[in-house]
Symmetry: C2
Subunit: 177 residues, 2 copies
Amino acid sequence: MGRKGSTEHRLLVLGLLRMQELHGYQLAEIIDSHFGGKTPVKKATLYDTLRKLHEEGLVTSREEQKGNRPLRTVYALTPEGDEAFLALLRKSLGTYREIDMHGDTALMFLGALPRAEVLTLLRSRRDSVAAALREQPEEEPGDDPHHGALHAFFSRRVHNLRAELAWLDELIAELHT
Amino acid sequence: MGRKGSTEHRLLVLGLLRMQELHGYQLAEIIDSHFGGKTPVKKATLYDTLRKLHEEGLVTSREEQKGNRPLRTVYALTPEGDEAFLALLRKSLGTYREIDMHGDTALMFLGALPRAEVLTLLRSRRDSVAAALREQPEEEPGDDPHHGALHAFFSRRVHNLRAELAWLDELIAELHT
DNA sequence: CGATTCATGTAACGGGTTACATGATTCG
DNA sequence: CGAATCATGTAACCCGTTACATGAATCG
């Protein structure tokens, strides 16, 4: 039924609706196109978020039919929606949410395996990180309407991956005694 | 009812049971003591995980009563539990799980606020990170039975926080034009 | 003509947290 | 004696994903 929709999701949807009115499917496409494959939001969640935002009066909805294509519901931001967006943005930008450490518990038990095996495993992990780093777009070529907008977002990802890599290298070297 | 219990939770519980048999409350205490306040696992989850591991035959259970204190259920690892632990550990150590980026969506919309305000907000975020970093134990004084075991775990946290800080500083400088 | 695309949803499941219930005991 | 501690659990809730359903249109 009526989910709340996390801050992140609301922020994303409101932020995109701020630039232009959109229907759900279109919204999903825009998001997917920027995150190729690994979407941070699934369609079901998007539709739900839109419905919720509409209930709250943060967006208006309007039915639209282009030719014989399926009926679509186009959403647009209301002034309240814009306010809500800015408030969320301010709160979110000014705060640091400690990132959940996943895949970390294993690090507590390095002693349970022979050092040689630990080294092999960590090197394999290192390779995964390096691969993920290579897949990151260096700097988006600028024929994108949101050109610079995503810069900070992706730059953080890259920074994080690089830090992870450096840390792993350090740990590996350390274990090498 | 019967939850699966995430890999992380299972790994943590099995790993701790590997060193000594424990009852749920004690397990929670051990975990809490190392993460002061911000526990990565809640009691309800722990009890549930233990129950599940018992169902699967990875741990044995035994009732114990010390004096008139409440009845406690003490769990101990079985050989299968030990195998399961090692398998989980190998898989987890050798793999990199991309961390969920939370609090990041806001970074996509830096353009929505005047640059001066963005700078103020980012500086406030920077301070949160710096504070979190100060709260991290530099290097655990060694009167801890798990002395070196947690080294890698905490060192990663520190590294991550430092990377976050450096990245924020860079971004702030960049926005300063 | 079968497969994919457009477009929107619903139902069920998964998995963790919150809040609450219980009951004895020890501490201030 | 009231409050906190010991010890274990359950029920409800929150939220997101998976999988499925629908139905027309277009593409190979």
